[in-house]
Structure formats: C-alpha cells, structure tokens
C-alpha cells in the first residue's frame, strides 16, 4: 500500500483520503483503527471493571435498559447507551443490525436468509445474531456492495 502525505494549506482542516479498488477487510481495519485510535471501552463483569479493545467486541446488545458487549467468550456490561455506541462507532466496523444490536462486521463468518426478510449472521464465536430487514442495506453499505 502506497502512503502519500501532503501538507495542507493554512487554515484547512486535516483530512485523510483513502483511494482503493474496493472496501475490503484490510481497508476497513485501517479505517477502524484511525477512527477508534487507542479508544478503549470499559466493561463491567462481576463487579470488576475491565478495559476492552473495541476491535475484540463481537456485538453490543441492549437488554432491559442495560447494554452488554459480547466478546469471544466474555460478556461485559457497559454504561454506554446503544445510540451513543452507534454514534461513537459510526464509520467503523460496527453497524446497527437490529433495534437492540450493534454488530461488528469483521466478526461475521457468514449470513443466511432467515424468516421474512431478516438475515441471520453466524459469528466466528459460533453465535447467531439476527439482522433485521431494514438494516440489511447498512451491512451491504459497510461491505461496499
């Protein structure tokens, strides 16, 4: 990958332009790292606060006014609201999969059509997550389709 750094004019806002043939996993990772930087999430499990790298989060789920983040094996509670996560991680690998779930696109192994326009995403940890009909275009957009 070629990296070109150009100096911008005084007063001009710094910007990063990515020119690629297609938005593949590598580019998504670069964008995600740029966007997320060193940002960490705080997860609570059994009263213990743990710092979680957002790249390790499979999905966020809102259940009974609580938000949980699901990693490969562990589940943590987070004090962030789903809409805050959605805002914070827009333009990263995360996308809204349903009203209660925000999913990491890099953790999806495959998808299959489910009931009535919904899709079911099989994740790399073996879990299955439903993608609502109205959020399928968002997934396609994330994948550059």
């Amino acid at each position: 990958m070629k990296i070109i750094i150009e100096e911008c004019k005084p007063g001009e806002e710094d910007q990063i332009i990515i020119r690629c043939k297609e938005l593949d996993g590598h580019i998504l990772k670069v964008i995600s790292e740029l966007k997320m930087g060193q940002k960490k999430l705080t997860g609570i499990k059994d009263g213990v606060i743990t710092m979680v790298d957002p790249a390790n989060v499979f999905y966020f789920e809102g259940v009974d006014n609580k938000v949980f983040l699901y990693c490969k094996q562990n589940v943590y509670e987070t004090k962030l609201k789903l809409y805050e996560i959605e805002e914070e991680y827009s333009n990263t690998n995360f996308f809204r999969a349903s009203k209660s779930v925000i999913l990491n696109v890099t953790k999806i192994k495959s998808v299959s059509p489910a009931y009535n326009g919904r899709f079911e995403a099989l994740l790399f940890n073996g879990e299955k997550v439903v993608i609502s009909r109205q959020y399928v275009p968002e997934l396609k957009k994330k994948l550059g389709l």
Partner: protein
C-alpha cells in the same frame, strides 16, 4: 423509507402476476368479452391492495419469530379476502359460480407462491453476495495477520 421501497417492489411482482392471471381467467371464463381499459385499472387497484398488505409486517418494536408467523397467517387471510372482494366488486366472478371461485383461489395461491419464491430467491442472492464479500474480506484479514506474524518473527 425501506417499507415504501418494499411495497413498490411487491406491487410490481403482484401486478405482473395479476396481469397474467387476468389473461388466463378471461380466456377461461370470458372468452367472448372485449374488455376495455377498465380491467387494467382494476388490476392496478387489486395490486395496490395486495402490496399494502405488507404493512402488516411492520412494527416499531422487534418482533419474535412467533409474532412474525402470526402476522404471516393474517397476511395470507388479508390477501385472499382483498382479492376475492375485488373480484366480486369488479364482477370478475359470478356470485354462486363455485368453479370460478375455485380457479380464482388457485390463481391467488399461484401469485402468492410466485411472489414468495421471487422474494426468497432475491434474499438468497443477497446472502450469497454478502458471503462472497465476507469471505474475501476474511481471507485478506488472515493474510494480513499472517504477514504481521512473519514480520514479528
């Protein structure tokens, strides 16, 4: 606006199916008739009724599989009721003519199944497209991880 797009897509499918069915039905039961343009408008009205039935599936809250199944049954009942009411209103079937009624029910089933099949096919194509992209993406991710590991060594 996804719901509107969905209704428009369904409308086009139902319209195509209804036109074919109307042609078959006229050829079977009204071969001598010289239908005017009104039949086309009647078919359009019927297709609108058929497609707005999709609103049954919309909800502000996430629906369970069971709720979806219940709504599917309601949707089928709605489709049959709407089409048979239109057929009666537009005078396509003579009241008391069981043969016409049976053929009409068969045709509704054919259009419903065809639309269902077309939608399923479209969903399968979408899933295939997404999976292809995902596997390319994951392959690239694996290669990068492999390279990173090599660099570390």
């Amino acid at each position: 606006m996804a719901w509107l797009k969905n209704i428009i897509v369904t409308f086009s499918y139902v319209l195509a199916g209804s036109v074919i069915c109307a042609m078959v039905f006229i050829a079977l039961f009204w071969p001598e008739s010289e239908e005017k343009l009104t039949i086309l408008w009647e078919v359009v009205v019927l297709s609108i009724f058929g497609s707005v039935g999709n609103l049954i599936f919309y909800s502000r809250h996430e629906m369970s599989k069971k709720k979806m199944k219940v709504r599917t049954v309601i949707h089928y009942i709605y489709i049959y009721a709407a089409v048979l009411s239109c057929a009666h209103l537009f005078g396509w079937i003579v009241p008391g003519n069981i043969r016409q009624l049976i053929v009409m029910i068969i045709m509704i089933s054919c259009v419903t199944l065809s639309v269902g099949y077309a939608v399923k096919k479209k969903e399968a194509r979408t899933a295939e497209l997404i999976n292809r992209k995902l596997s390319r993406m994951n392959l690239r991710k694996d290669e990068n991880e492999e390279n990173e590991n090599k660099d570390r060594i």
